[in-house]
């Protein structure tokens, strides 16, 4: 073992304290250190994944208090996979935004990178933690850094968006805390594995109540349908790369949390149906809404929500194939949507309102960015040979194996809408004439590298999906095996 | 012995007979005389029994009938039509206007003598000539054809300069293409 999962939390938090101090000495360190931290986290996750695939799940006990009493971090194939994905994206977002808006060199930009780092840390924490109270803490970390990032531009609109986010986040936190209280009062434990083991003892009514509160609370972060009103505003008002961070990192963590609840903690069969219903409604509403958007980032935001709905559907199928598909979707969505946010930000760079019509004719002026956006669009529509196809195929196959014919039909019909609104943008990029006044901004070299990295991943996974299907498969097996999780956490001897 | 002459002669006799019995007329209804043509063609006089029948276009027609006075403007068209007809072709001047200008003899824009401009094979006089006279004219033309005398087209070709001279004298805006044969 090269490192310990605890470093995922410890190092960034430590760095967050140190950076303001170093920033006084060397101004650029504010930019660079978060990047190094994120790179370290990514490297750590890779090395740990290597270890995990050979030796099995790592359960890290903090301060020597063994579970169920102490705090523990679980680095299983499932959580490890998500950690790897998130840290990678975090690093990519950092790389992309390293010189993003270099003219915005006023004070908040210092905090941007710290907040970004904390956002990633919190998300990783949600995924890795083994008890629900820590989960609450990490969700708060994510939310607070999220509020900060949303209001980064200190404009009226961004403040409003941040306030909406804060408002919803506050509701979520309240209910989350109540849910945790109910569980603790009934079972006397906060450890997920322990709760899962003891769950049958709990009163059914309270069980339902707590689950409902959990879903309400986590649903806000997971952007499920009626709770996602904040999301489009936040995606639109936050800086472009933060949209990618939200879509690729935060939402993934929230989905993880809800999945952990349903798959591990609770033993309800009906919860899976709930997932499908919520996911389907989210999917339909978000995609239809996205069709009617006139702003690029809003469109991407709704599309992102829709994809999350699809992920929930896939989780709701409840079979191993479903989980596999969901994970694949999460992976693809994280990569592709980040690519779209990255390249899309440059396509509408200098425009305040970021209307879709501002991308007109950009194909000539920003060729690489445009091609990458096109690849991203094709991939997210699910056209072969791009990566999105394989995940869509996996979802559909999983649904078909569970005999959900209507579901397949609905997913496919809605996917057509997705194709329509993405292609409308692509057509505008290449076949419309540029407005005279629109100024173009060439992407900086670091942003270009980040985008090309993502683009290459999209293509490579598209041509050779087996690169990650092994990880996905192990992760899916891990999630499905609830007993093993409990056993591993509770019988840790160290 | 050279049979060619006889052969040619025989052919010519046969073709002339055929031509005389199959006169497709292009009735260029320039004036009031046009009214007599339907009468000639229809039930009462029935020129079709002589093999006379209407042709739709100059390309198909054998006989150009000028039925009445010719204004200068019309003359241009008539010449054009005549030149578009294929050999052998015949012209019938119809009514006194075509013969000598008739009642328009001192008009400022009609021609007075058709055969200055086109080689006329048969004139039918009268104002208007009755259908009987028209039939008589056809019979005369048939006779001429059979006798090998209806050589208007050849005459026109041979004396093209003469005809062109006359035509150009009276038609001011001359924009004809070359003559086709």
């Amino acid at each position: 073992m090269v490192g310990s999962p605890v470093l995922f939390v410890a190092i960034p938090l430590l760095a967050a304290f140190i950076i303001p101090l170093t920033g006084m000495i060397w101004k650029n360190s504010v930019r660079i250190i978060p990047g190094l931290v994120l790179a370290f986290m990514f490297a750590l996750s890779i090395s740990l994944m290597g270890y995990v695939s050979e030796h099995g799940t790592i359960v890290e006990v903090i301060a020597g208090w063994k579970p169920p009493i102490g705090i523990n971090l679980v680095f299983s194939p499932f959580t490890g996979f998500l950690t790897m994905l998130m840290t990678f994206l975090g690093f990519m977002v950092w790389l992309y935004s390293y010189k993003f808006k270099r003219n915005v060199d006023f004070e908040p930009s210092m905090k941007y990178f710290i907040l970004l780092m904390l956002l990633v840390t919190g998300s990783v924490g949600i995924v890795l933690t083994g008890d629900i109270f820590n989960m609450f803490v990490f969700i708060e970390i994510v939310s607070i850094s999220g509020y900060g990032l949303t209001s980064f531009y200190t404009r009226r609109d961004s403040a409003e968006a941040a306030f909406k986010f804060l408002f919803m986040g506050a509701i979520a936190s309240t209910f989350l805390l109540i849910a945790i209280m109910i569980i603790y009062s009934q079972l006397g434990t906060l450890n997920i594995a322990d709760i899962a083991e003891k769950m049958p003892l709990m009163d059914n009514k309270l069980k339902v109540l707590s689950l409902v509160f959990f879903i309400l609370a986590i649903g806000v972060e997971a952007e499920i349908f009626p709770l996602n009103g904040w999301a489009p505003d936040v995606y639109t008002q936050a800086p472009g790369p933060i949209g990618a961070a939200f879509a690729g990192i935060v939402v993934k963590a929230a989905i993880y949390a809800s999945v952990r609840l349903v798959y591990t903690m609770y033993d309800f069969g009906g919860a899976f149906d709930l997932f499908i219903i919520i996911g389907l409604i989210t999917f339909i509403v978000a995609e239809t809404t996205a069709l009617r958007q006139d702003r690029l980032k809003r469109m991407l935001a709704y599309s992102s929500i829709g994809q999350m709905g699809l992920v929930m559907i896939a989780f709701g199928i409840g079979t191993k194939e479903g989980v596999y598909a969901a994970l694949f979707l999460m992976f693809n969505h994280a990569i592709i949507k980040s690519l779209l946010f990255f390249s899309g930000s440059y396509l509408v760079f200098n425009k305040k309102n970021k209307y879709i019509k501002h991308v007109n004719g950009m194909g000539k002026y920003l060729p690489i960015t445009s091609v990458l956006f096109t690849i991203g669009s094709f991939a997210i529509i699910g056209l072969p040979p791009f990566s999105g196809f394989w995940s869509k195929l996996a979802v559909l196959t999983a649904a078909a194996d569970s005999k959900m014919v209507i579901l397949i039909a609905v997913i496919l019909i809605i996917s057509i809408l997705e194709a329509v609104y993405y292609l409308r943008v692509v057509n505008r990029i290449y076949f419309f004439d540029k407005k005279e006044k629109t100024e173009t901004q060439k992407p900086s070299i670091n942003a270009l590298i980040a985008m090309i990295c993502l683009g290459i991943i999209v293509l490579v996974i598209g041509f050779y999906p087996d690169l990650i299907s092994g990880y996905l498969d192990r992760a899916a097996t891990d999630l499905m095996d609830k007993g093993n999780y409990i056993k591993e956490v509770l019988t840790i001897n160290k | 012995m050279d049979y060619g002459i006889y052969q040619d002669k025989l052919t010519r006799i046969v073709t002339d007979i055929a031509r005389s019995h199959s006169l497709w007329i292009l009735a260029y209804g320039t004036g009031c005389g046009a009214i007599e043509v339907p009468a000639t063609m229809t039930s009462r006089y029935d020129a079709e029994r002589l093999g006379v029948r209407g042709a739709a276009t100059p390309r198909q027609a054998d006989v150009l009938m000028i039925t009445g006075y010719l204004t200068v403007k019309t003359l241009k068209r008539v010449i054009r039509v005549y030149e578009q007809m294929q050999d052998p072709k015949y012209v019938i001047g119809f009514g006194s206007c075509a013969v000598n200008g008739g009642m328009y003899w001192d008009s400022y824009n009609t021609i007075k003598q058709l055969d200055l401009y086109l080689p006329v094979d048969v004139y039918i006089s009268g104002c208007m000539p009755r259908p009987e006279a028209v039939l008589e004219g056809f019979a005369k033309l048939q006779e001429q054809i059979r006798a090998g005398e209806a050589r208007g087209a050849t005459k026109y070709k041979d004396n093209l300069d003469y005809y062109r001279g006359n035509q150009k004298k009276i038609i001011k805006n001359w924009d004809f293409p070359d003559y086709n044969w």
């Binding site: 649903g219 009103g229 009617r292 056209l383 195929l393 397949i408 409308r424 057509n427 419309f432 | 578009q84």
Partner: protein, 616 residues
């Protein structure tokens, strides 16, 4: 390395290299483009046989490539047309913008078509199908005209088809546990009745879109006419045949196995017949040659689908033969239109006139292809039409045969229109500068026209591969039964001997031509088309008397009741209605934080109300 994989890799790498080689020089790009098209074709004809098979394994799916007799037959169309149209493309795209983009998508779509034909499993089939779709989509919007309307329409219809197919594929996988086409075929009869109908129906929707079957055809006229003509030759000639290819598999190996299949087959045949009739009428109405041919293509595809759908050995032969012939003559015609467009700059039949003396070779190609299209003996189109009629009559589809006869007779109207519009009529000063298209464009057209003639006399050249393909589906040997060398039979024992008829016609034609043509030609003088009988009026240079507007107005007046209703309009208004509905869902997000809080509360209440159901 397996040769099929090699060819595919050649196509895909070659496409990318060709696209970027434009930076070096245009000539290098052209040459590379041709190499990328010709080399795989040569490899295919020399190296691929029925035994080559290769498997690529992924965790999710196993991609199996191999050739069947049927795919060999369709590969003939694809590869042949790809090379011929490739040469033509080089001529036509000379000096155009975005050549790299065009070449890339051209080669990609050819490669994808080849991939489709070589796929033995549904996943690779679907992958290549989608590559073909978006590559062709990118070419359809190449001109940049009406992209949002035409392009999106094409893509949406394609997506409907592709997703229907995808649904069928995942259903098949859930039932058989395999993506192999052969597994579907072997397990089909054991499925439940619902699945037995659902799967072919979904697949047929998928294939029907590409084959422009009504009511899925609405993309076709716009897409065909909007793409550059050198690609439309492929589009109509080869790409649409992919739909036919799929349909053949569905009809022959699935629907013919179950009694309920007859219903679907009849429905499809009727739809195809109505498609043929209506689109023929619409073709007559068009004034733009591209759109005219586009509608004509839809109609012709209708015949092919009828043949395939009826499902008797004879009708299948007819359908497949027509598929080949359609590829030959329609590609030639699109090339002709492209040549005219390149030389004159327009394809409006009411504007261009009298090109026959300026572009004689183009005219010759157009003439022969039109005769083949009209199905007039002794050219190739007739062979297919004859077999189609006979098979329809013999299989008791009497009303269908009338409908087909109607549309094929009405096809004469637009056939004449396109020949007259471009090549005949008065020669205008406006087009006096027009020269014959370059040889690289003429040669493919002429080769295609010659093949129309050859196939009309010796249809056995392609009847043999058709026969092999049909026998691979378990149909009886048709040699000596329905055809024998150049003699066609029907079940009743009637026959038609093509070669003697061809020779007879040739003989008479030569005699009459010598008598009329050469004799008259030497003795007559050419006069311009201005020298016509017009009641003595002399036509001036600038006066255009060509009759080209409202060409078939009286006929269209007669058929007006039929043409009033357009599926296109219904579909567009449906789409608009749907978008308006989405406008409503958009308002759910009204931007008010309080509303969102209320949503959250409502959500909570709903969850609590249905909390019991959570227990499952």
């Amino acid at each position: 390395m397996n040769i099929i994989i090699l060819i595919l890799i050649l196509f895909f790498l070659g496409a990318i290299i060709t696209a970027f080689s434009g930076k070096i020089s245009a000539l290098v790009q052209d040459i590379l483009f041709l190499i990328v098209l010709v080399v795989p074709a040569v490899l295919f004809f020399t190296g691929v046989d029925m035994n080559t098979e290769s498997i690529i394994t992924f965790s999710q799916a196993q991609l199996t490539f191999g050739m069947t007799p049927l795919s060999y037959y369709f590969s003939l169309i694809v590869m042949g047309l790809a090379v011929l149209a490739g040469f033509y493309t080089v001529g036509q795209m000379n000096g155009k913008k975005r050549k790299g983009y065009y070449y890339l998508n051209y080669i990609l779509s050819i490669g994808a078509m080849f991939g489709i034909l070589m796929s033995k499993d549904f996943i690779s089939f679907f992958i290549f199908w989608e590559i073909m779709t978006w590559a062709s989509y990118l070419i359809v919007i190449y001109n940049g005209k009406n992209v949002q309307k035409i392009g999106i329409k094409y893509f949406v219809m394609s997506a409907i088809g592709a997703y229907a197919m995808l649904m069928a594929i995942v259903l098949i996988h859930s039932i058989t546990g395999s993506f192999l086409i052969t597994d579907l075929i072997s397990e089909y009869t054991g499925m439940t009745q619902g699945m037995q109908l659902l799967i072919p129906a979904l697949l047929l929707i998928g294939f029907g879109v590409k084959a422009a079957l009504m009511p899925l055809h609405i993309w076709a006229p716009d897409a065909y006419s909007n793409a550059p003509m050198s690609y439309t030759a492929i589009f109509s000639g080869a790409l649409s045949k992919m739909g036919i290819y799929g349909m053949v598999i569905v009809f022959l190996s699935l629907l013919s196995k179950v009694p309920e299949g007859a219903l679907i087959r009849d429905i499809v045949a009727w739809l195809a017949a109505i498609t043929a009739a209506i689109s023929t009428l619409w073709a007559i109405k068009q004034d733009d040659a591209k759109r005219l041919l586009a509608y004509s293509s839809i109609g012709q595809l209708g015949y092919i689908i009828i043949g395939v759908a009826i499902g008797t050995p004879m009708s299948i032969i007819a359908g497949l033969f027509l598929a080949f012939m359609h590829g030959v003559f329609k590609s030639a015609l699109f090339m002709v239109v492209g040549a005219v467009e390149k030389q004159t700059g327009t394809t409006d039949l009411t504007e261009v006139t009298g090109l026959i003396r300026k572009m004689p070779w183009t005219f010759l190609a157009a003439l022969i292809s039109i005769i083949a299209l009209a199905g007039i003996p002794p050219l190739g189109g007739f062979v297919g039409k004859w077999m189609l009629y006979e098979s329809l009559i013999l299989s008791d589809h009497f009303m269908l045969v009338i409908l087909v006869f109607f549309s094929s007779t009405a096809a004469f109207l637009y056939c004449y229109k396109i020949l007259f519009g471009f090549f005949l009529g008065q020669e205008e000063k406006e087009w006096a500068h027009v020269k014959e298209a370059p040889a690289i464009m003429i040669v493919p057209m002429v080769i295609l026209s010659i093949s129309s003639i050859v196939l009309g006399t010796y249809p056995q050249l392609i009847l043999k591969p058709i026969n092999a393909a049909m026998m691979s589906f378990g149909l009886p040997d048709t040699y000596g039964n329905l055809w024998k060398e150049s003699i066609l039979f029907n079940k009743w024992g009637n026959q038609i001997a093509l070669a003697p008829i061809m020779y007879g016609i040739m003989l008479v034609f030569v005699i009459v031509t010598i008598f009329l043509f050469f004799r008259n030609r030497s003795r007559t003088r050419y006069v311009t088309t201005k020298d016509i009988s017009t009641s003595g009026e002399i036509i001036k240079e600038h006066e255009n008397l060509t009759f080209s507007r409202g060409f078939f107005q009286p006929f269209l007046r007669a058929v007006e009741p039929v043409m009033k209703r357009q599926i296109d309009k219904y579909m567009l208004s449906f789409a608009k209605g749907v978008e308006d509905l989405f406008e409503f869902t958009r308002r759910i997000y009204n931007g008010n934080g309080q509303t969102y809080a209320i949503y959250a509360m409502i959500f909570l209440i709903i969850l609590l109300m249905f909390g019991k159901n959570l227990l499952g």
